[in-house]
């Protein structure tokens, strides 16, 4: 009994450790990739000084942030000021627990069934992610409030309004996929998209979710406070928004949370709409060659390719679009994206109903 519990715990902790490592490494890559991609798009070189072609830049940034002085502004609420970055970071990392990174395999160790590519396959997977994503707003609002600064407070309040408005669109744009897949579990949703790439939910009959995908991508850009929706940290009017007063490691936490959140929403988008770890063709090439036990590498690589393509889209948007004004942002969310998402639900529901009758 005790050993079984211990073994389960050890397996779970190993998986959690592995996923945390992958996410942190991805964030490190992203910080460099963002500056490089933006540089190339603006006809610059990007960071070149640290290491060959600047590839050691993320480590230099991390060391710099780690050794910076940690300042708590006078009049700040010290308890909440300290807690806010952690509140921002934890919900984001918790969300990765239900992401399926690879095929839905199981194997047994001493009678315990282990799923190697997902930490926990709970049957409300996507709701779990939405629930914790909605908590990330607390870190931003409280951080803004506790700083005792006008710019921070305004940034925090903006972010509260923005995150609530766009979370609604994220939730509603997902509903179409849930109707098609008939499940809330990300593992089952991904399994429903095997075969050719036209089985992916973005193209799948009877109701292609292409509009839902567009609404989802726009809404998550707003939810992660990225350009062109980065009003909570608009530097031309609010200095740096909700983290104006933050420095050193606490600032690094906010930074890490933002990038980890980008990775999370990209993972969710590729799992829901783009087939997750499924290749665009049935099965895998590894199986054709006869190395079926190694096919998981191909599957996880497809997942990585889809996720990184979406992350590239984030950078591309940043290099292309100017920031929206606040009223434009709200009007766009409530009067354009919300009706599209609702119409998509109605159309998908009717289409699936008719399809089942035929």
């Amino acid at each position: 009994m005790v050993t079984e519990f211990g073994l389960r715990l050890a397996i779970s902790l190993t998986q959690i450790g592995a996923v945390m490592c992958i996410v942190v490494i991805t964030v490190l890559i992203l910080t460099l990739a963002e500056r490089k991609v933006l540089g190339w798009m603006q006809d610059r070189m990007g960071p070149m000084e640290v290491g060959p072609y600047g590839i050691l830049q993320p480590f230099a940034d991390a060391i710099k942030l780690f050794f910076k002085e940690d300042i708590v502004p006078a009049g700040a609420n010290k308890f909440i000021f300290t807690m806010a970055p952690i509140l921002c970071l934890i919900p984001t990392f918790i969300g990765f627990a239900v992401i399926p990174w690879g095929p839905n395999w199981t194997f047994e160790i001493n009678g315990i069934v282990v799923k190697p590519f997902v930490i926990s396959d709970i049957n409300i997977g996507i709701l779990y992610i939405l629930a914790f994503a909605s908590l990330a707003a607390y870190g931003i609002i409280l951080g803004g409030w506790a700083s005792n600064s006008k710019y921070s407070l305004l940034g925090g309040l903006r972010s509260a309004a923005q995150v609530i408005s766009y979370e609604l669109n994220v939730g509603l744009s997902i509903v179409g996929v849930l109707i098609l897949a008939g499940s809330l579990s990300l593992v089952k949703i991904t399994d429903a998209q095997t075969g050719w790439f036209w089985n992916w939910h973005i193209f799948a009959l009877p109701a292609p979710q292409i509009f839902a995908f567009v609404v989802y991508v726009i809404s998550v850009v707003a939810e992660t406070n990225r350009v062109p929706f980065d009003l909570p940290e608009a530097e031309s009017e609010l200095v740096a928004g909700f983290f104006t007063e933050y420095s050193g490691l606490r600032f690094a936490f906010f930074f890490l949370a933002e990038y980890a959140n980008m990775v999370l929403v990209s993972c969710v988008a590729s799992a829901l709409f783009l087939g997750g770890w499924n290749a665009p063709y049935p099965g895998t090439l590894m199986e054709l060659v006869g190395l079926s036990s190694w096919s998981w590498i191909e599957s996880t690589m497809w997942f990585a390719v889809k996720t990184y393509s979406l992350l590239f889209l984030f950078f591309w948007l940043r290099a292309t679009l100017p920031r929206l004004r606040y009223d434009q942002l709200m009007r766009f969310g409530w009067k354009v994206l919300l009706p599209i998402a609702l119409a998509n639900i109605v159309v998908t529901a009717i289409a699936v109903f008719i399809y089942q009758r035929i």
Partner: protein, 185 residues
């Protein structure tokens, strides 16, 4: 073990709810409310109602409480004593509630547990693993009428809120000809 987990969640819910009304700083009150919502969600999970737990966090913690915080910060009430001189009213409300709880716990306990067993119906018990499916099934068959009535009530409330908000913003600086003539006068 399950008793212990229940005791933890119940104890934390009670402690956090007391803190919500007892703390002087409204932001701290909102945060203890957040802690309470989390533990209520935890209770739902121990009852294998994962869907309810997730919805509890999304709706209450994710949306409603953020709006509370929003209002608290806009009003910038630091330590307002006005809301803490209401002991008489609080006592007046509390005593009947306590008595009701006593009655429920002592006399009505047996009938209540017997009733709560059949809330989801016998068909829902058979498909207990998929809680979401069971809730959907009962909500759209047995309880369809109350569900629709509730959504209608919510719609009316929404329209009411929009009407009230529109009047307050629209009148002082009305860009219509009416407003301009008023300004001229």
């Amino acid at each position: 073990m399950s008793q212990l987990i229940f005791a933890y969640f119940a104890g934390m819910i009670i402690a956090a709810s007391i803190l919500v009304v007892a703390l002087k700083n409204p932001v701290y009150s909102a945060l203890s409310l957040l802690v309470m919502f989390f533990h209520v969600a935890g209770l739902f999970v121990t009852l294998h109602a994962e869907f309810l737990a997730a919805v509890q966090i999304i709706v209450y913690a994710g949306a409603i409480l953020v709006l509370y915080l929003f209002v608290v910060m806009i009003l910038n009430v630091k330590q307002d004593d006005r809301y803490h001189n209401q002991w008489r009213i609080a006592g007046f409300v509390c005593i009947p509630l306590m008595m009701e709880a006593m009655v429920l716990l002592s006399g009505g306990a047996e009938t209540r547990t017997a009733g709560s067993q059949t809330v989801l119906g016998p068909s829902a018990q058979a498909i207990a693993p998929d809680n979401t499916f069971a809730i959907g099934q009962t909500l759209f068959s047995t309880y369809l009428f109350p569900f629709e009535v509730a959504s209608l009530v919510l719609l009316v409330a929404m329209i009411g809120a929009i009407v009230i908000a529109k009047r307050e913003i629209g009148e002082p600086d009305d860009p219509s000809p009416m407003g301009q003539t008023k300004a001229v006068e």
